[in-house]
Symmetry: C2
Subunit: 338 residues, 2 copies
DNA sequence: CTGAAAGCGCTTACAG
DNA sequence: CTGAAAGCGCTTACAG
């Protein structure tokens, strides 16, 4: 279909070995030859066949990204989308192409596809099944996890310091004068929700402000409706009504706000709310939502950087790369007179 | 590194031709041979090399997605993310891998990369430069646009019927009793913003409700801050203050809401607001935002379906595939007594 | 039914 | 400095 190195060789009156040498700029070639060859290349708009190159170089300059998700949407998820943005930016920088797939539970099909396509490395996002890791391990493809949950050893995992984030949240609400705090806790089997809650309650206790059991509600998933239901549950069962709510992610917080609105409560005048993740919506929402920022894009970017080092067989020291979260103070937790 | 067809041949005591035949399930092979070969394949967990296959079959089973964007973030964009979700879902169904890239203005680097990687087809998203199209054309790679803006002929473009969407918006606000309507109009060089505005004002005129020039503000981009500024401008310069605002996309609407809040206006009691796109946040925002739904995910899915037909050289009738938008009525435009 | 050969489009030693 | 040959891992006619 398109031109090959042979077409160039023929028209330039040299052998294909020579053409290859000038293209790759390796070995010896005379000035004159180089000019002839480049001229033909420009004329024909020749583009080398990356597949053929990959066959001999044994590398495709392609990395795979597998996002674990049981349901669509995946890419448009306000968290994973950001991570992917960072991955694409870094991949562009390191000159990798990136193949993106979504892996449904219990399936290895997209992982298999990555192996068949001979990607140079793989980035695993979210709570992957251990079978996926076993599978990749078997084919000795370099990989790295982002925001993963796994029991496995020797897996490089890029995560946020969620414990610390939970503590930041507790500090903030306490310092802002809230003392009767309710907590909406996302699914505990997720590493992040679990640590966020742990950090939050621990710190609150240190501050001398014990969490009342009535004021904590666990949700089965991290969706909007669950946040809404959780807030209603807390509101109804509590004797001392909460003056603030901490949700272990932003979406749950938005659910809570909707329910507050339906109960006639104003944010932040009647009740304060804060979330976790710093998804884009928290900033453009009115009122804007206080939250804990996670370096989503940076985590994606760095995942590629580290993966590239592994691919190039450079030393990689760390096993767990933990990012520091940052409190983002906004309107939804305005300071209160104490 | 990994096993090849030769390893299998050797251990099964047959030629590699035979192994190939059993794997591809083509030509004749005896039952006995087949069993022997499959046994070895399972034992070794052999995975064929897709590159080698692609070399001979001249197809990679990979499609490329190029999203035009001048700035990150791209993937996490509430519109493109949804389109990409649909693309991934369809690609999974048709058994394609997908390479995703972001193309910055005036650059052909990622497009070049797609050519080098020999993708079977390309999906172009958003307002691509015509050079990109020329470039792809030259290499005769099948492609298709989603939500594109181009002067070129014979380009299959999957778009939303934005004119119709604008009319739906006008009908809705009018029927809900609003008569003094302000409009925040995104950049007119974008096909979609331009048609949305056109449809809206045309319909409003038909309804006998001429738009006052003071009540329309054009923005230089479609970001939150621009929406905010635009609303303030309208508010300050209008004699009869608006009772409703239509913004040509949701993000602009959110900007307007923030400004309303700062001016002490309540939505929808003091003023109604509606946007366009139906991004996820319109639903979880409090109050929820009335908007016009676009089949973002479906557009992505269908793009792959049509592209696949072109790749397989099947007849493709249409040049422009237009989706019908749908009004989504929510809290931000509650009906008013007339 | 099976194997040897050619070829997909490159790169890389190896002679010359 | 340049060209012929081998090889990357497959598939596909072609003999047998």
């Amino acid at each position: 279909m398109s031109y090959t190195i042979n077409d160039i060789a023929e028209r330039a009156g040299v052998s294909k070995s020579t053409v290859s040498r000038v293209i790759t700029n390796s070995g010896y070639t005379s000035m004159e030859t180089r000019q002839k060859v480049w001229k033909v290349i420009e004329e024909l708009k020749y583009q080398p066949n990356g597949l053929a190159r990959a066959m001999v170089s044994q590398q495709t300059n392609t990395i795979g990204v597998i996002i674990m998700a049981n349901h669509y949407p995946v890419i448009s998820h306000p968290f994973y989308g950001k991570v992917l943005d960072g991955i694409l930016e870094a991949a562009d920088h390191y000159r990798y192409s990136v193949i993106v797939t979504t892996e449904k539970e219990m399936s290895l099909s997209s992982t298999e596809d990555m192996i068949i396509k001979r990607v140079d490395g793989i980035i695993l996002i979210s709570r992957l099944q251990d079978e996926v890791i076993d599978f990749i391990d078997k084919y000795k493809v370099p990989y790295i996890m982002v925001n993963g949950t796994t029991e496995k050893q020797n897996v490089i995992n890029i995560v946020n310091d969620d414990m610390q984030g939970g503590m930041l949240a507790a500090d903030h609400l306490f310092q802002s004068g809230y003392r009767n705090i309710g907590v909406i806790v996302g699914p505990q089997e997720h590493r992040s929700h679990s640590f966020r809650y742990k950090g939050f309650s621990r710190r609150l206790k240190e501050l001398g402000c014990q969490l009342n059991e009535n004021m904590v509600d666990q949700t089965k998933n991290s969706k909007f409706e669950s946040g809404r239901e959780a807030f209603l549950a807390i509101w109804e069962r509590s004797h001392n009504k909460p003056d603030a709510i901490f949700a272990t992610n932003d979406i749950l917080a938005f659910g809570a706000i909707r329910e507050m609105n339906h109960l006639g409560l104003k944010v932040p005048d009647d009740i304060a709310v804060m979330g976790f993740d710093n998804i884009d919506f928290t900033e453009i929402s009115t009122p804007s939502i206080t939250t804990v920022h996670i370096e989503k894009t940076k985590m994606g970017y760095d995942a590629v950087t580290v993966l590239e080092q592994i691919i190039k067989r450079q030393e990689v020291k760390l096993e767990m790369i933990e990012y520091k979260p940052r409190l983002i103070e906004r309107e939804s937790t305005r300071k209160r007179e104490i």
